[in-house]
Amino acid sequence: MKKVFNLAILLVAIIGLFIAAATITKNGEGLKVGDTAPDFALKNIDGKTVSLADYKNAKGYVVIFTCNTCPYAVMYEQRIIELHNKYAVKGYPVIAINPNDPIVKAGDSYEKMQQRATAKKFPFAYLLDDGQEVYPAYGATRTPHIYLLDADKKVQYIGALDNNPQDASAVTTKYVEEAIAALEAGKTPETTFTKAIGCSIKAKRF
């Protein structure tokens, strides 16, 4: 009898988890500006596990959900490299996370990530969201989707890198750079949330 009872509890808990997961992705919930972002431990393309806590002297973190295959991610690739090169030395490293399920999107497998990172000489960590638990916790819905955190892992900005994905030379507002500049000046960023077109995140199919 006890066994049956335990099983029932387990079942309810599992169903509850599924419902919770579904609501998070459906309502686009997850982190809001001002929330404290959760840390993670994800495998980098060099085989090592990376966490936010590893960046000892960080003044902030530029967490970018991105991937190999989305054309928007590809269009932003060079700009993300430049962002890291410019701001990592100032204490704001880029930490890229591929949220896609490699079974749904073969081009976003761990091996393909390694190939892409090598070919493009990614200067930043490129992690695989293995198990797909991190992106729903953050509330990411598309690639690329950027979360700028301050030194206390508080979310200061969510959205796009800038206001022109297709043409870097026609950009008039660099949202992330402006937000970092505000943090550097001890201020709150003026723009804390933007929307952009992007590819949907490829979730595991049950």
Binding site: A160, N163, A170
Partner: protein, 183 residues
């Protein structure tokens, strides 16, 4: 029916007002409109909207037609996968007040190289429009505040009743299920 009468009545009133204001006024208004509207027509391609504000009216048509507006692009694999279901919807509901509009978000640089050949090969029956406004942050919320900007995304509306789906569809019946309450 009542709505149509009211709309007609308003239209007549509006026309009268225009006539009253004299011909110079009308000419001025026309010039402004053609300056502001930036819809480009290129051979072999559907109309290209450079600014969302020119496209916005398709989301607010006050009549008894159910509009199914799908945001897609040739570069978006799940979008291309679900296109046949929207095409099937257009075909099956051809005699009913259902209108499918496919808004392509293809990149400006790929309209000739990707979209044009795709349209030629697939001979889409549904109405296709192209939106190339790069400043998505300025218009995503106007489509629906719940939209994160990811595609595929579909809006279904009739009059003031509006439903929004940031997801892909796996069959025609799944699409029919969501439009049935509107019919």
């Amino acid at each position: 029916m009542q709505k149509i009468i009211i709309t007609l009545f308003l239209a007549i009133l509006f026309l009268n007002a225009c006539q009253d204001s004299g011909s110079t006024q009308t000419a001025k208004v026309k010039a402004v409109v053609s300056n502001k509207a930036s819809i480009k027509i290129l051979p072999g391609l559907p109309p290209i909207y450079e600014h969302f504000e020119d496209l916005a009216p398709i989301f607010a048509q006050q009549n008894d037609t159910t509009y199914v507006i799908n945001f897609w692009a040739t570069w978006c694999a799940p979008c291309v996968k679900e296109l046949p279901y929207f095409e099937a919807l257009t075909e099956k509901y051809a005699t009913q007040k259902v209108k499918v509009i496919l808004v392509s978000l293809d990149f400006s640089k790929q309209l000739e190289t990707k979209l044009k050949p795709f349209l030629k090969e697939n001979k889409l029956q549904s109405k296709v429009l192209i939106l190339i406004d790069p400043d998505a942050n300025s218009w995503v919320d106007k489509v629906n505040p719940a939209w994160s900007g990811a595609i595929p995304t579909t809006v279904v509306y009739k009059g003031d009743i509006n439903e929004f789906y940031e997801k892909s569809f796996d069959s025609l019946s799944e699409l029919e299920e969501i439009i049935t309450p509107f019919l």
